[in-house]
Symmetry: C2
Subunit: 403 residues, 2 copies
Amino acid sequence: MAIKLEIAQEILLNSVNVMPKERVTLSDCWHRVLAETVVSDIDFPPFDRSPLDGYALVAEEVANAAPDNPVVLRQIDNIPAGGLSQKPVTPGTACRIMTGAPLPPGATGVVRLEDTVVDGEMVTVLEGKGANKNICFRGEEICQGEELISPGTVINAGVMGMLAVLGKGRPFVFCKPRVALIATGSEIVPVDFPLSLGKIRNSNSYMLSALASEAGAQIVLMGNAADDVDQIAHLLEAASDCDVFMTTGGASVGDYDLIGEVYKKLGITVLFDRVSIKPGMPVLAGLREDKLFLGLSGNPAAAAISFEQLVRPVLLKMGGRKVWWRPRVKAVLAAAFNKKTGAKRFVWARCWQKNNDILAEPLYFQSNGMLKSAMAANSLIVIPEDTPPLPAGAEVEVILLSD
Amino acid sequence: MAIKLEIAQEILLNSVNVMPKERVTLSDCWHRVLAETVVSDIDFPPFDRSPLDGYALVAEEVANAAPDNPVVLRQIDNIPAGGLSQKPVTPGTACRIMTGAPLPPGATGVVRLEDTVVDGEMVTVLEGKGANKNICFRGEEICQGEELISPGTVINAGVMGMLAVLGKGRPFVFCKPRVALIATGSEIVPVDFPLSLGKIRNSNSYMLSALASEAGAQIVLMGNAADDVDQIAHLLEAASDCDVFMTTGGASVGDYDLIGEVYKKLGITVLFDRVSIKPGMPVLAGLREDKLFLGLSGNPAAAAISFEQLVRPVLLKMGGRKVWWRPRVKAVLAAAFNKKTGAKRFVWARCWQKNNDILAEPLYFQSNGMLKSAMAANSLIVIPEDTPPLPAGAEVEVILLSD
């Protein structure tokens, strides 16, 4: 009995837990998922500092300085970036200061080097308006105790920089879920093998491995198995350190649909055995202790859509992400879709913006052209169940793919 | 003299070449850039095959089969997936066949297992309409000699699957450009060090390393250097196997702006020394033989925008990509931007779709809040030079960031 997609998604999401956390060196954290709440233990900047190269001084003194009204000051010190000065700046004096250096005591502003003329220790200020604004104040960007980043945040360039500013050189991130993948089918040969009549190469493992990587998982390729219960069961047990076990092939009706028998042999409880979507209906989901088993179709088009709709959200939840679903937008069909739809259907598509519309063009119509479509697609059109053929111009819902 | 952004981009793009290619095992190719033209040396499917589990037969014989008009045939063989049968199917006979198996000689159609009743070797067909359509014909998806993938294609899940189908177990991809990165400034300390007064942690290296990874480069972190010509020059030479050399800090006016001196010492020809954009004006670009040197600002906001606008396109070109620019869309300002703009300005923003509009909200206005903005941004608003303050509702151009 095929169950509804939303129910299948809920069953799977309820069957898995978020992964434990691990510490990872910051330089290896790009695109990992943060597993801690980051609270700043410093103000940032940690001190009042100069945003430019120039002279720290008493701002009020130079407020009206101009080429025809120059103010002459005596330089009392020189602060490089990373340096310090304890000499107080008083009226009539100034302190040379570099970008990023701490303001010396007494200084209430900074004038730009370009607005001064220097002769020995005498500094002539030719433009002083706004000198009091040329200060980055302590805590201006970040306050001590401020909660800055929450668990589940994907570490992008900005987050990397922020973690560094806060001294988080080895932040906690969620472990990546490990997904064992076995391609089954006596017709399948490894990619580098010669092809004999009746055989095809294993492409599902590579396609699914890319999809799993994109979902933040660590794929463990367990190779190919013949249509043989013992062989498949053996490979699954050999990958027992993994968190999710995925097979392709042997999941539909027929003599050689063995995954059900494998589950029986291994004591895996079946959660459901098909989902009413097209393509991707055959999915034999099972659970043993807290490990999830997912038997996908051997058909690449079906396996890809089952993965997108059922496996990806599970991997994102396990990986600690906050958002498990891809963005959806309304779009306009750029060409007719001439098939009627029974079970909810997903169609590879290419979307683009034109004036204020998003147009979506279905890519090929045959599941046999699937790899060409998947290479070119940037989106999936979602057609609800029981929909007649759709004319060009019809409004459709589209899932945006990032790949 | 600051030069225009477009001129700076052209100078840099003309200064670099596409990287050489290398062979990489297919399972490691996700998101790499293909460096060969892939032409199929097979038809795919490589033989006429069954798309389902059922019986191969003479389709014309069962065209009118129905529950009240059953057609009884004799099973003469059984073809598992990966198997073969040489026994010709003739009128009155049928051959059991599994999904993906090659059609036996003589068969012109397949009926579904579910539409038959089997008793010993006798097969009763209850529904035979369309049996002639249940064949995937040889070459239906791919023809031998067909050019399928061109150099510069980023290897997504569909491309991975296609390469596997074609037996490309170790395709040629472009080598990743290696980018040496040195953070300069005596005020900078490594991320795990204790902070003393006047010091801040090195965050630029991490932020830029994430940006470089996203641009398909291999970052080589060379650590921090004090404001010292010899030290910086030494670190640059120590990274001499790299393709691009990036520094942050020491690139604007002032006593401690040393990168110019470093270039002189190392015999690096200056290409330009500032670009009229805000933030990100100070960029000291240099060339020695075919190696590019890029001195970015030490200010994170400036460094990030210089990288986005100047370094990223260069890395994408070197990495063999076809497209060097991010997508741009028209959007509507969700809040006023109250500053007037002299040099072309880039503002971190958050975009979202509302009805038929894309709205863009500027994130903070101070460069000091840069890391918070960069964490939350999904886009950059581009404000042309010499633009007055912009009210909410103004149309703006927006660059979409993928991160």
